[in-house]
């Protein structure tokens, strides 16, 4: 067996599969340096296998919350409690967790980068390759499989610059699958997508949910939550949590007014 130099402490799948919650936030507070708090007293848990929508107006702190859950930002600590404010798979959060995937907004990606769909998806495997090792047959097989799942097999050798918005989104979901991530954090995946593309992303997340993945999607578009079945749990956010519940409970004029007005 080949010895590998992983980038980070490697966590075994069995341990993660047995966790009840994918994410637990304990009275989380966050402020960017020198600014008023972006998030205050955020308190909720997401069970494994749940699909959650983070709904809120622009600037409500949705992206910040996703980045905190991804470990890309550190919560602003309060001296009162020593307990970790974020737990991922019931363990205190690490910056690098090989089993969570954060999908940045499409506007944050350089789409002119000279790279193919297949190469991008292969980057998901890097988490399990570590330094100095190259993808082997198993990795190649995994890539074939996930490309099939997201329906990009025919476009595997295409440049990412040639993709439509929906295809770009699916490429990054495929990368998260290749990474074997069990928690997918999708930042505004529906931005600038037409209705059929939104539909196909929603169907894809449903499929992933049936395979035990936990999915958290941020969106500011009420339409996609109202019309579709983006998630069975909706968290309405505007710096703090306004409401948590099923779409029927949260997506109501009187509740939404508290966040959007």
């Amino acid at each position: 067996m080949q010895r590998r130099f992983y980038y980070t402490r490697h966590i075994h799948n069995e341990y993660i599969e047995s966790a009840v919650h994918a994410v637990c936030l304990d009275h989380l507070t966050f402020a960017y340096p020198g600014k008023a708090p972006t998030l205050t007293d955020i308190h909720f848990c997401v069970a494994q296998g749940e699909r959650v929508a983070l709904l809120g107006p622009n600037g409500a702190g949705k992206s910040t919350l996703l980045k905190l859950m991804a470990g890309l930002l550190k919560p602003t600590s309060s001296s009162a409690t020593q307990a970790p404010m974020i737990k991922i798979f019931e363990a205190p959060i690490d910056t690098c967790h090989p089993h969570t995937a954060y999908l940045a907004q499409r506007s944050e990606v350089d789409w002119r980068f000279p790279i193919t769909v297949r190469d991008v998806v292969m980057m998901g495997r890097y988490a399990h390759l570590g330094w100095f090792s190259r993808p082997n047959k198993i990795d190649t097989h995994i890539i074939d499989e996930v490309l099939e799942i997201v329906g990009l097999t025919a476009l595997a050798q295409a440049s990412i610059s040639d993709l439509s918005g929906g295809q770009q989104q699916r490429t990054f979901i495929a990368r998260a699958l290749a990474q074997n991530a069990r928690l997918l954090l999708l930042d505004e995946p529906f931005n600038n997508l037409d209705a059929p593309s939104q539909r196909s992303i929603i169907e894809l997340t449903k499929l992933l949910q049936s395979q035990g993945k936990t999915i958290i999607i941020s969106t500011h578009e009420l339409g996609s939550v109202i019309a579709g079945d983006v998630a069975e749990t909706v968290i309405l956010l505007n710096h703090n949590i306004i409401a948590i519940g099923s779409p029927a409970q949260v997506v109501r004029p009187d509740v939404l007014a508290q966040a959007y007005l």
Partner: protein, 269 residues
Amino acid sequence: MSILEPLTLVFMQRGLAAGMLVAVACGLLGCFVVLRGMEYIGDAIAHSVFPGVVISYAIGSSLLLGGLVAGLATALLISVLNRGDKLKDSTTIGVVFTGALALGVLLMSVLRGSTRDLSHFLFGNILGVNDSDLIFTGILALVVFVCVILFYKELTLSSFDPTHARKIGIPVNSLRTGLLILLTLTIVAGAQSVGVLLVTALLITPAATASLLSRRLPRMIGIASGLAVSSVFIGLYASYFFDVSSGAAIVLVVTIYFLIVWLFVSKRY
């Protein structure tokens, strides 16, 4: 005059060998520099190599070594000043490289009268390459080549998507510092052949040309290195037969490549 005549001359052989080694390194690294938008920092390092050269000239040590120390110090200083995200990259770079350039000019005015060799360093003196310079350049090029191959995977990922790279535990900041060090090595080696003022062109222009021609990174790197190597060859030949500055001739060849490719590509769309 025979077309093969330059190849029989020892100083031309050395110049060609040194220039081609530098060109390969420039083609390799230039692609990452262009893709990461680090062109400005490359230019900054090139300029900050200057005071190091002046100091080593004054104390009589190797110009390449002095340039290397100054360039590395600048690269590290920029990466330290950028920690904490208080300032934009381009701001700290602007501050550091103008300061370094001023320091070089100041030191040069102290050493007035003995600046002839320094102009070689500013504008290149590829035909003045001696054996120890050639060995030094060869080692630098080899280090760059080996590092890019060993860390190709991580360099590509952290250039394309630093967030994902951080997420899976790749030390993005250390990689960036490492890339800056390689960049400095290449710039110092390139300063000998085309000079510190023109070396940025050898780094950026072939990579920019290649990015117009290919949408696969490995191919882009191959094209960039090929263009850089051939421009050293053509530029050096031109400077031999027409008796013009070799550094300028090399840079003009890459610039012409770029313009031709740009015209060709923009006609297609």
